[in-house]
């Protein structure tokens, strides 16, 4: 009975008045080409930028690693480690991009759609961990470069001691991750929790039924 009344109400619903209604003919052309996903829901450009940057660093790393191998330099193991981290970073982001498949994302059913958004956000948050490791390596390189310009004796002391270098890398990586935890990550985490809660609410509603 209630539903019938509602249906009558629904059928007699007026259109949004002319001044409030989108001009379909002319605006539709613009609307259909605009991207409905935005902000943290659309990470494609960010992932692309990261892949391009990582590939450039990866190529430079191969070059550096080759030099270290030829000259038997002190940074051989660090360059090797950096190579593996960069390779994994590229692989991780390419995998994320393929998984997200933004073109077909919106044609998914509601629950798989929310589930996929959740996974994308979750993995994106995880990627900040790899960035922190990379930041540790590159900040050490920047630190060494600065030290070589300011104090060559101190630079020689550090560059020949691999143990200290690894300690500095670990310290910088953890510091960088803490920085991310308090700056960028909360925004994505908040969104992830909201998506998860929303999906949970829909699921629990069905269980109650």
């Amino acid at each position: 009975m209630e539903l019938k009344k509602l249906q009558q109400n629904w059928n007699s619903f007026p259109e949004v008045s002319m001044e409030e209604r989108p001009v379909l003919s002319s605006d539709l052309e613009k609307i259909v080409v605009h991207n409905p996903l935005s902000g943290a829901f659309y990470l494609k450009p960010r992932i692309y930028r990261r892949i391009v940057a990582a590939v450039i660093l990866w190529l430079f790393n191969i070059y550096q690693w080759r030099i270290q191998l030829k000259t038997g330099g002190n940074d051989l193991y660090q360059q090797a480690m950096l190579f593996f981290v960069l390779t994994y970073f590229i692989y991780f982001h390419v995998r994320l991009l393929l998984f997200a498949d933004y073109q077909s994302l919106l044609s998914l059913k509601l629950i798989p759609f929310l589930g996929k958004l959740e996974t994308i956000l979750d993995k994106y948050i995880l990627s900040f961990g790899i960035i922190s490791i990379l930041a540790g390596f590159y900040l050490l390189a920047a630190f060494e470069k600065t030290l070589s310009l300011l104090n060559s004796a101190a630079y020689a002391g550090i560059s020949e001691n691999g143990f200290y270098k690894w300690l500095i890398i670990i310290f910088l990586s953890i510091s960088f991750y803490i920085l991310f935890l308090h700056s960028v990550i909360p925004k994505y985490k908040k969104l992830l929790v909201t998506v998860r809660t929303y999906r949970g609410e829909i699921g629990s509603k069905l269980q109650k039924k």
């Binding site: 209630e2 539903l3 009344k5 509602l6 249906q7 109400n9 629904w10 007699s12 619903f13 007026p14 259109e15 949004v16 008045s17 001044e19 409030e20 989108p22 379909l24 003919s25 539709l28 052309e29 609307i31 259909v32 080409v33 605009h34 991207n35 409905p36 996903l37 829901f41 995998r95 994320l96 393929l98 998984f99 073109q103 077909s104 919106l106 044609s107 998914l108 059913k109 509601l110 629950i111 798989p112 759609f113 929310l114 996974t119 993995k123 908040k190 969104l191 909201t194 998506v195 929303y198 609410e201 829909i202 699921g203 509603k205 069905l206």
Partner: protein, 167 residues
């Protein structure tokens, strides 16, 4: 060169289809929006999402299903975004007195219901058959005595893709 020129007449076909179906999009906006601005934003997002889905549709997907999925998915995103925003006045405010009156009456008769119930009600109003609802929401009802083993299995390639690309 924009999308519409590149794809020849395909965008034109999608545009015509969406133009004919725009009332459906308006309908779902009634449940989830309270102001004209919100209404316009959600309308544009749903139309864009539907257009994108239809243009990249896979064999077997129907336009109407994709449009309804776009409606549901975008309203879910809209609700999620609203939850992230600071608490605002959620009273209904439309310029048109007719529309304002109908919205108030409609919301009053609907009452306080969850988003999922709103979606179900929208599908009911749009006369979507009960058996097609799970194809839109992805929620399979186990009420009818269908065992898990009898649930349709995913075809091999998407399953393999899902496992290999991301698990």
């Amino acid at each position: 060169m924009n999308n519409s020129q590149k794809k020849g007449g395909s965008t034109e076909v999608v545009r015509t289809y969406l133009k004919h179906q725009h009332k459906k999009v308006y309908s779902i906006c009634r449940f989830f929006t309270t102001t004209y601005k919100e209404h316009q934003r959600l309308f544009a997002d749903i139309v864009a999402a539907a257009s994108q889905s239809i243009q990249h549709k896979k064999a077997g997907d129907e336009k109407n299903t994709l449009l309804l999925r776009a409606c549901i998915n975008m309203t879910a995103l809209h609700s999620i975004m609203l939850r992230l925003e600071p608490e605002e006045d959620r009273t209904i405010q439309f310029k048109s007195p007719d529309y304002q009156r109908s919205m108030l009456k409609f919301r009053e008769s609907v009452g306080e219901i969850t988003d999922y119930e709103k979606i179900l009600l929208f599908l009911e109003m749009e006369k979507v058959p009960q058996n097609e609802i799970s194809d839109l929401t992805g929620i399979t009802s186990y009420k009818k005595g269908v065992s898990l083993k009898e649930q349709p299995k995913k075809s091999f390639i998407p399953y393999l893709k899902e496992k290999l690309v991301w698990s």
